[in-house]
Symmetry: C2
Subunit: 197 residues, 2 copies
Amino acid sequence: MPKAVPRRADAARNLGALLAAAKEVFAEDGVDAPAKTITDRAGVGVGTLYRHFPKRSDLVLAVIRHEIDDCADAAPRLLEAREPWDALTTWIDGLVELVGTKRGLAATLHADDQDPGEHGLSAYIVGRLEPALDGLLAAGRRAGVVRPDVDAAEVLFAVPLLLHEVPNRDLAFGRRLVRVYVDGLRPPVSEHVTSPH
Amino acid sequence: MPKAVPRRADAARNLGALLAAAKEVFAEDGVDAPAKTITDRAGVGVGTLYRHFPKRSDLVLAVIRHEIDDCADAAPRLLEAREPWDALTTWIDGLVELVGTKRGLAATLHADDQDPGEHGLSAYIVGRLEPALDGLLAAGRRAGVVRPDVDAAEVLFAVPLLLHEVPNRDLAFGRRLVRVYVDGLRPPVSEHVTSPH
């Protein structure tokens, strides 16, 4: 029993190092980067990688889930540190990054003949991100800076839809579409503007 | 030569009647409705239908193009009759209807093994609708009710993306997403609100 705690701590540290290294290497060299590039950066043996993630798609999926967790965990921290509108829009910027990452990585899951949907990734996204975004929207509504008639599920569908790949358009184009949608989350103008008449 | 003019007028009238009838019958009975239902309503013979549209997909495509033309032609009329913001949002409501129609009909083009893209439908939409929407956005910008940093192409991509079919969500869900995006087309709040300080 006394030995179990450090071993478990080691395993958790190795897993965290692997996910962090894999995320960086995927971004730099693509998802087909050699396993040794990842394990060297993580400071673990290749055996450790394959014990945790027998297939490359297992590792890709774990990296995406880790990103989703980070995104969800950021919400309460943002609400502590910033004004509600700033917290909400910064969080949505993070969601845009997440979707951009996922877009690149999800292609691998498909190529590996494994639909991300079959991994329950959509359910995982909703389960983790909807409560996080609910908190941000509620704080914004209380402060009068977010319209009352939009729920978290709408935003969680709208952002990925607007970032959907479109022929001859890059991610910057999608970001411009998202920016307009996000500005539309403010309360209707009539509640803001005092009529000049 | 004297006989050519009435003949051409007859042909144009028959074609218009066929398209109007087909649009109604498709909406009521689906795109597999019997040809005779369409020709009876149009008051023409079945031979006239098949001479103009040998395949069902030809007729479906013509109905969609006709809807696109109607949508484009509505823009200048709306600008004459309404305030710029009202004209813009009413026109976008029409675009939502068009995309909803197209969504149903496009499935037939696919089923007929003919990608709408191969018919140049996307190019047709952009070619007809982008100038129409440009005029509406420009009028809104001149009146100070539309933000200056959005172009027609963005809106023409954003609306269909937000109306994209999503599991377990109906078209009303997509309309709610579009409504938020459209409200985001207003100028940024800072230009509207007089600071209370």
